[in-house]
Amino acid sequence: MADEMKKPYNLKEVVANKPSRFTEGHRMCAGCGAPVVGRMVLRALHEEDHAVIANATGCMEVSTFIYPYTAWTDSFIHTAFECAGATCSGAEAAYKSMKKQGKLPQDKNTKFIAFGGDGGTYDIGLQSLSGAMERGHDMTYVCYDNGAYMNTGIQRSSATPKFSDTTTTPAGKVIPGKMQSRKDLTAIMVGHHLPYVAQSIAVGNFKDLYEKSEKAIYTEGPTFLNVLAPCPRGWGYPTDNLMNINKLAIDTCYWPLYEVVDGVYHITYKPAKKLPIEEFLRPQKRFKHMFAPGNEWMIEDFQKEVDRRWQELLDLEEMTNKQK
C-alpha cells in the first residue's frame, strides 16, 4: 500500500481504469462541490472491495437516492440527520461479528464510509461522530463542508465562516452577518487521537483528495476527512467558478490542506505566495457586504483569524515533527 501511494497519480488513468462508483443521474446542483468529493473519495476504493456507505440527511442524500433511483453502486444506507456516524458504526460492528462467525465470505473486504455535510457533522451529528470515532470502528467519516445548512435553504451552522450572510444570520443594518468564527472540527477530530485525520479539497487533478481518501479508507481504525465543498447557491458564485473558488480557498490559507498521521502534522500544500483573504471573499455574494465602504474592519478581522489559524498549524507541524 505504502509503495502504491508513492506512485505518481494520473487522473486520466484512474478515470479510465476505475469505473465511477457514484454515478450520473443524481440531482445535485451544477457547480456544487459535494458530488465531486463523493465521487473522488469512492474512486480511492480498491476495485475488488465492496463498500457500505452511510449518509446523513442533507443535500447529498436527498439528491442521490430518490426512491426508486439511486446513484450509488455500493451498498448505501441513510437513516437520519444526526446519526451517520452511529449508523455506519452499527454496520461495521455487524461486519466484524458476522465475519468472525463465518457468516460472510472470508476473501471479500467491505469498507465503511460515512458522508455528512457540515450541519450533520459539525452540529447535530457531532456526538454520533465523536462516539463512533472514540469506539474505534474501522470506518472513514467524510465531511463535505459547504459551510451552512444548504439543503434547508442556507441557514448558518458552526462551520459557517464569520460575517457570512445566511438566511439565519442575514447581513442587516445592525448585525453584519454571522458574528462568530467557524468551529475547527478537524482539530476536534485530531483531539480524538485517530490514526488518520486530514483536510482536503478538490483542486487541480484531485491528487490531494484521491491520496488522502485512499489513506483514510485503508488505514485501519477510525479515520476522518474534512473536505471543503463549495455551494453555488449558498456562497453566491457562478456555477462554472467552482474550481477557482477551491483554488482560492487554499491559496489564501482559508482552508489549509494537511493531514495528521498518528498525531504528526503534515501540511500538504503551502502556497508559494499566500494570497490576501479578499481574493477568496470577493467572488462570493455571501461576503458582499464586507466590501461596502466602512466595512474594511471586517476584512481585517477575517484576515487576522485566517493568519492566526495558519500560524497555529505551522507551529503544530513543527512541534509534532520535532517530537517524532
Binding site: I66, W72, T79, S97
Partner: protein
C-alpha cells in the same frame, strides 16, 4: 428440558439474549434497564457469545447502530427505558419503516418530567403508533418467554417489523422470582439463524436503504407496514402455539383469567395483572364473579378479539399506567372502547389511570375498582368514565 432458576426480570432477559446470541447489541445505560447491557457485556467479555457489543454514547446512537447492523444483515438487539426510548424516538420510526426486525427490551419507566426513575407505561405509550410489535409481560417468566419468541415473530417474512418486549421497571425487572429456563440448545433451535433476503453486506447484491420517499410512494410504503402489522397477529399466534407445544407454557394475544363467566372485568397490562389475579381469586371466594383480561399483544392491537371476550360482562374497567393528558382517557382505554364500539359491543366501560411514576398499586385499590364495577353493573351507567386510582386526594384541583 426446562431448568428451574431464580432470576430478576433483567437477568431473565439478559439470559434470553445470551441464548439467542445476536450478532450485535448496541445499548446505553438507563435505569432500570441498565442491568441488561451490563449482564450482557459480561457474557461478551467472557466469550459466552459471538456478539459485537457496541457501547454507544446515547440511545439515539443505540437505535441508529441497531438499524445499521440489522440492515447490514445482522441480528441486532438493544434495551432501554423511559427517556432512553424518547431519545430514540426518531429512529424507532425509521427502524420500522426500513422493515428491520430489531428486538428491544423495554423496561417500562415514567418518561420525564419531572424526573422519575420508577415504573409506569408512559415510555411505551409514546411509541404506540411507531410500527413496532409490542409485547407486554406480567412477570420474569413472560419477559423471558416473550424474548425467546421475539425473533421468530419479527423476522417472519410476512411481518419484518421490529419488536419490543415490555416489562415493569423495578417491579419485575429487579425482583427475583422462580423461573423456568430452556436450555441453550433448545433456544438455538427454536430461534433459528437469521437469513435476511437482502442486506448491505451482500457484496453480490449491493442495495440502498432509506431513500427520500416522496408523495408518489410514502403512502403505499406506510400501508405496507400496516399490512405487516395485521399479518403479525397470526404469526404471533402460530409461534406461541409452537412454543406452548414445546414448553407447555401457553401464550395468546391476551390472557383471560376467570373471564368466561365473569360479570365484571378489569383490562390491564404487565405486573398489575398479577395483583389483579390475586384480587380476582379473593373475590371469587366471596362469590363475586370477577375476571381479568391481560393484554399481552398491545401492537398489533387485537381489538376484535378483545371486544368479543368482553361482550358478555356487565361492566369493564380499563387500567392505564400512563396518563394521555387528553381529557378523554388513557391509550389502552381508547383502544379497548373503540374496538368495542366498532364490534357493536356495548358494555359500560370506565378508565382508571393508575400507578404513575411508580405509585404502588395495592390489592385493596384493585378491589375498589371491582366494587365500583359492581355498582356500575347494577346502575347500567357511568357518571365519570375517566378516573384516577391511587391519586392522593386534595393535591389536584
Amino acid at each position: 428440558m426446562s431448568i428451574r432458576e431464580r432470576l430478576s426480570g433483567n437477568e431473565a432477559v439478559a439470559t434470553a439474549m445470551k441464548q439467542i446470541n445476536p450478532d450485535v447489541v448496541a445499548a446505553f445505560p438507563i435505569t432500570p434497564s441498565t442491568e441488561i447491557p451490563q449482564y450482557f457485556s459480561t457474557f461478551v467479555a467472557n466469550g459466552a457469545v459471538d456478539t459485537e457489543f457496541v457501547a454507544v454514547e446515547s440511545e439515539h446512537s443505540a437505535m441508529s447502530a441497531c438499524i445499521g447492523a440489522q440492515a447490514a444483515g445482522a441480528r441486532a438487539m438493544t434495551a432501554t427505558s423511559a427517556n432512553g426510548l424518547s431519545l430514540m424516538w426518531e429512529m424507532i420510526y425509521i427502524a420500522s419503516s426500513l422493515r428491520l426486525p430489531i428486538v428491544m427490551s423495554l423496561v417500562n419507566r415514567a418518561v420525564s418530567g419531572p424526573l422519575n426513575i420508577h415504573n409506569d407505561h408512559s415510555d411505551a405509550m409514546g411509541v404506540r403508533d411507531a410500527g413496532w410489535i409490542m409485547l407486554f409481560s406480567e412477570n420474569n417468566q413472560e419477559a423471558y418467554d416473550n424474548t425467546l419468541m421475539a425473533h421468530r415473530i419479527a423476522e417472519h417474512k410476512d411481518v419484518m417489523l421490529p419488536l419490543m418486549v415490555c416489562q415493569d421497571g423495578f417491579i419485575t425487572s429487579h425482583s427475583i422470582e422462580n423461573i423456568e429456563l430452556e436450555d441453550d440448545e433448545f433456544v438455538k433451535k427454536f430461534v433459528g439463524t437469521y437469513k435476511p433476503e437482502h442486506y448491505l453486506l451482500n457484496a453480490n447484491e449491493p442495495m440502498a436503504v432509506g431513500p427520500l420517499d416522496v408523495q408518489a410512494y410514502l403512502f403505499e410504503h406506510k400501508a405496507q407496514q400496516g399490512e405487516a402489522m395485521k399479518n403479525a397477529k397470526n404469526v404471533i399466534l402460530e409461534v406461541s402455539k409452537e412454543f406452548e407445544k414445546l414448553t407447555g407454557r401457553k401464550y395468546g394475544l391476551f390472557e383471560e383469567y376467570k373471564l368466561d363467566d365473569a360479570e365484571v372485568a378489569i383490562v390491564c397490562m404487565n405486573s398489575t395483572a398479577g395483583t389483579t389475579k390475586y384480587v380476582v381469586d379473593a373475590l371469587r371466594a366471596k362469590g363475586v364473579k370477577a375476571g381479568l383480561l391481560k393484554v399481552r399483544v398491545f401492537r398489533p392491537f387485537p381489538g376484535e378479539e378483545i371486544a368479543k371476550a368482553l361482550s358478555h360482562v356487565k361492566a369493564v374497567a380499563v387500567l392505564d399506567k400512563s396518563d394521555s393528558l387528553n381529557a378523554i382517557g388513557g391509550a389502552l382505554f381508547e383502544d379497548v372502547t373503540s374496538s368495542m364500539f366498532v364490534q357493536n359491543v356495548h358494555v359500560p366501560t370506565v378508565n382508571y389511570v393508575y400507578g404513575i411514576g411508580g405509585r404502588d398499586t395495592t390489592a385493596d385499590q384493585i378491589e375498589s375498582v371491582y366494587s365500583d364495577l359492581l355498582e356500575i353493573a347494577k346502575a347500567g351507567k357511568i357518571d365519570n368514565p375517566y378516573r384516577y386510582l391511587g391519586l392522593r386526594k386534595g393535591d389536584v384541583k
